[in-house]
């Protein structure tokens, strides 16, 4: 059976907010709220660029700048402006049109990667390994994800694989309590791979559907820490050749061009097969996701838009593209 976690309707025990009034546009409204200041500025910029002008070199340069300010990176920004210019160069073009085209170009890149998280429940447990650089929101994402899955009626277990950072284990335990999920842990400084191995056994014995393993944050250029991560993956493979079934990498929306490097290396080392972009409730637009999607084509399962348990939303390519292009959401 394959269930789609992203689509699973949230029911029952969520702490405060009543689950009924959680219509789809919520996250986007929140995202827009976060982006409102800069988006307004962005829309002004675009209007400013195009009110009196034809599509020429200067205009394209300005447009490129707008994209760069969303962290798309020079190369990706150039590619999009090139596409925009193709066939329209030298012609009059309205600001609205520009935003439309821009959004649709970005959406083209993002659409194929906006996928729901599919869990293959023939695996018992289905193992989700969560990896990423320090402070990108791994533990918080695990908490939110556990809540989602538990609400969907799945039996979830968490493993406190961050045995390095002070109180990381306690942090995950609190999320375990909040989501009624058992937490497998050892102590600070313990071997993370050994813990992952044990956790798998415990999860299998307990008939757990999904085992989510937290890992310590690490910079991708630290070879010894990346080796340690590789070992975790290897050891899990001894329990189930296909484990970990899902390797989620968290990315901080405020991160710049380095995020591209992060994905590249984590993917090579840990076999990342899905992304979560966190902290999209700020003013950062997370445009690097466009460059990452163009290059790696990894599914983006969720975005994090806040600190509370329900602030994990499925990724919507169109909305995200609109936000980057500074376009108002299409009210549905």
């Amino acid at each position: 059976m394959a269930i789609s976690a992203g689509v699973t309707p949230p029911e029952a025990p969520a702490p405060e907010p009543s689950p009924d009034e959680q219509p789809r546009p919520t996250w986007f409204r929140r995202l827009r709220q976060g982006l409102s200041r800069t988006s307004a500025q962005l829309t002004d910029q675009i209007s400013g660029i195009f009110t009196r002008r034809k599509l020429d070199e200067d205009t394209l340069q300005d447009l490129e700048d707008v994209l760069i300010q969303s962290d798309l990176g020079v190369e990706t920004a150039l590619r999009i402006t090139d596409t925009l210019a193709a066939g329209r160069y030298g012609k009059d073009i309205s600001p609205d049109e520009v935003q439309d085209i821009m959004a649709s170009e970005i959406e083209k890149v993002l659409e194929p990667v906006a996928l729901p998280l599919e869990l293959d429940l023939t695996h018992k447990p289905h193992v989700i390994l969560v990896v990423g650089v320090n402070g990108t929101g791994k533990t918080t994402t695990i908490g939110k994800l556990a809540a989602k899955l538990a609400d969907g009626g799945l039996k979830v277990m968490l493993a406190a694989g961050d045995t390095f950072r002070a109180a990381a284990i306690e942090q995950l335990k609190i999320w375990g309590e909040r989501t009624n999920s058992p937490v497998v842990s050892s102590k600070l400084g313990a071997d993370a791979a050994g813990l992952a191995f044990d956790a798998f056994e415990k999860a299998r014995e307990a008939g757990t559907d999904v085992l989510i393993i937290d890992t310590a944050g690490r910079l991708q250029n630290k070879a010894e820490l990346m080796d340690e991560l590789e070992k975790i993956v290897r050891v899990l493979g001894k329990q189930d050749p296909e484990a970990p079934h899902t390797v989620l990498q968290t990315l901080d929306a405020t991160t710049g061009q380095n995020a591209l490097n992060q994905v590249e290396i984590f993917r090579n080392v840990a076999g990342v097969n899905g992304l979560v972009m966190t902290k999209l409730d700020g003013t950062a637009r997370g445009g690097i996701l466009v460059a990452i999607s163009a290059k790696h084509k990894l599914p983006i399962y969720f975005i994090g838009v806040g600190e509370s348990v329900d602030d994990l939303e499925p990724f919507e390519a169109g909305d995200f593209a609109n936000a980057i292009a500074g376009r108002a959401p299409a009210e549905t």
């Binding site: 990176g73 650089v133 402070g135 609190i174 901080d252 710049g256 061009q257 995020a259």
Partner: protein, 509 residues
């Protein structure tokens, strides 16, 4: 993944041979590349614009120094301007206030506030012998207070006892009181991570400030931050008036453009940088190093530091003397190979040298990797003392023995001998002429050895001298360099010259 700015400018401006003043056209061409390099380093666009405007102003009409290409002149101006913008001198945390001095840490979620709090406390306690109290005001993130408590335990720093149910402002008041009673010199308030547009939390932050009147308010920010760096720095500064910045994760492989962005929009100094996961991985900020990193120009300072760490200065001096005397046997060669290995091999060494990016690629393409060093060392290790001191006695039967002993073959041994002979010739040719110890002598033996002796780093003059020596030593002519790798003769070395004059390098302190 990044091309260094110098490489780029090199390819664009190699054609320009104009001397005299920099023309508007030269500058514009160069600045386009500068702009892109800065953007790729995550410097915020508005800061890039300001910056390139400033550089343009300075550069147009500037005299091009002799022996320097226009592009390199631009790089020098860019570099100097970057350093100026980042702040010439490092600024330390200011504790010049009545005790307990309150230091407040603010920043986005996950920027590293708690870890930095622990690091600063450990530093103040170990270096400045201050009695420090740490208090976590983070009542939002699960186990945040517990995290700081554990850090305190690890580092032996006092932490404020956790009282459940208190608000951040209450904790702030309590920690100042506790510090007064406990005779603490410094109290560090670790606040919850907050998004700079989260109004209630920004209000809370201002309340905490009002209640605890901090002497320092440090914005902790991730060095990997992208374009948003300007927004967050500006907002935090507007709301609480930060006194300085701490950049974390400087040990990542990002280019750290956020440093420039935040410094530029707030005008506040970068006081410290986090460089690792351990509690002592906190360093002072060196504007020049960051400037080089943003420009992708290698880090000559760390090269020298690394060289000083790994190379035994005395040994290098002895070798330099021997070279001067024209002596260079296989023992010397083995020493040099080992030193190269210790410094991270050929690629590590080249990567640290500004402007050598291109050469590095070509060396890699020629298959001259570090396994070559290893095999060559194995060959030398399989020789007798007598053979090492006097390679001329190596005839067929000895070579056969050495090949068997080192797991190589006669051809490889011959290549090594040929390389040694050529190097010895170069040494001889260059030796005995006073300062001109030869490129390799200077680079491998002399560089660190001389450094150690002088207790400093090479200044631009020396580097220029080094480059001239490289030309003189025949690096400019194909086949001039000893055939290090055997087989294909290092194609790169014969081609593009080393950047003349290496402008924009940090000057000797």
């Amino acid at each position: 993944m990044f091309e260094s700015l110098q490489d780029r400018l090199g390819s664009i401006l190699n054609g320009l041979t104009g001397r005299g003043a920099l023309s508007e056209k030269d500058v514009s061409a160069a600045l386009r590349e500068v702009r892109r390099a800065l953007l790729e380093a995550d410097v915020a666009l508005e800061v890039v614009r300001d910056f390139t405007d400033k550089v343009r102003e300075k550069a147009v009409g500037a005299e091009v120094l002799k022996s320097i290409k226009p592009g390199q002149m631009v790089v020098k101006i860019v570099h100097d301007e970057l350093v100026a913008m980042l702040g010439e001198e490092g600024v330390a945390i200011d504790l010049n206030a009545p005790a307990p001095v309150v230091v407040m840490m603010v920043g986005l979620q996950g920027s590293g506030k708690t870890t930095t709090t622990g690091k600063i406390a450990a530093r103040l306690s170990a270096r400045d012998k201050k009695k420090v109290l740490m208090a976590s005001l983070d009542t939002r993130r699960p186990a945040a207070q517990e995290q700081l408590r554990q850090l305190g335990e690890q580092t032996g720093i006092d932490t404020l006892p956790i009282v459940a149910g208190q608000s951040p402002t209450q904790i702030a008041e309590r920690s100042v009181q506790a510090a007064k009673l406990g005779g603490h010199d410094v109290v560090i308030l670790d606040t919850a991570g907050r998004t700079h547009i989260d109004e209630p939390l920004m209000v809370e932050m201002a309340d905490i400030k009002a209640k605890s009147s901090p002497h320092e308010i440090l914005l902790v920010a991730d060095a990997l931050t992208g374009q948003d760096a300007v927004n967050l720095a500006r907002n935090f500064d507007e709301r609480v008036g930060i006194t300085g910045l701490v950049l974390t994760r400087m040990d990542g492989d990002g280019r750290g453009g956020a440093a420039l962005s935040m410094r530029a929009v707030t005008g506040k100094p970068i006081k410290l940088i986090g460089t690792g996961e351990k509690m002592d991985a906190l360093e002072e900020f060196h504007p020049r190093r960051i400037a080089d990193r943003i420009l992708g120009m290698g880090d000559i300072v760390s090269l020298v530091e690394k060289a000083a760490e790994t190379i035994d200065a005395e040994k290098a001096q002895v070798m330099a003397d021997r070279m001067k005397a024209g002596k260079f046997d296989l023992n010397d060669l083995a020493d040099q190979l080992r030193q190269m290995q210790k410094m991270g091999g050929m690629s590590g060494f080249m990567g640290l040298m500004p402007g050598m990016g291109k050469m590095k690629d070509q060396i890699a393409a020629a298959g001259l990797d570090d396994t070559v060093f290893r095999r060559q060392l194995a060959i030398i290790s399989s020789m007798t003392k007598k053979e090492r001191a006097n390679p001329d006695i190596l005839k067929h039967s000895r070579k056969k023995r050495i090949a068997a002993g080192s797991g190589t073959n006669a051809a490889e041994i011959n290549r090594l001998l040929k390389m040694h002979r050529q190097m010895a010739d170069v040494m001889k040719a260059m030796g005995g002429k006073g300062k001109k110890a030869g490129m390799l002598g200077k680079m491998m033996g002399g560089l660190a050895g001389g450094m150690g002796g002088m207790g400093g780093m090479p200044d631009p003059k020396q580097l220029e001298a080094l480059k001239k020596q490289a030309d003189a030593a025949g690096l400019g002519k194909p086949g001039g360099l000893p055939d290090l790798g055997g087989g294909p003769a290092l194609p790169g070395l014969g081609g593009p010259k080393l950047p003349g004059g290496l402008p924009g390098l940090p000057k000797k302190k």
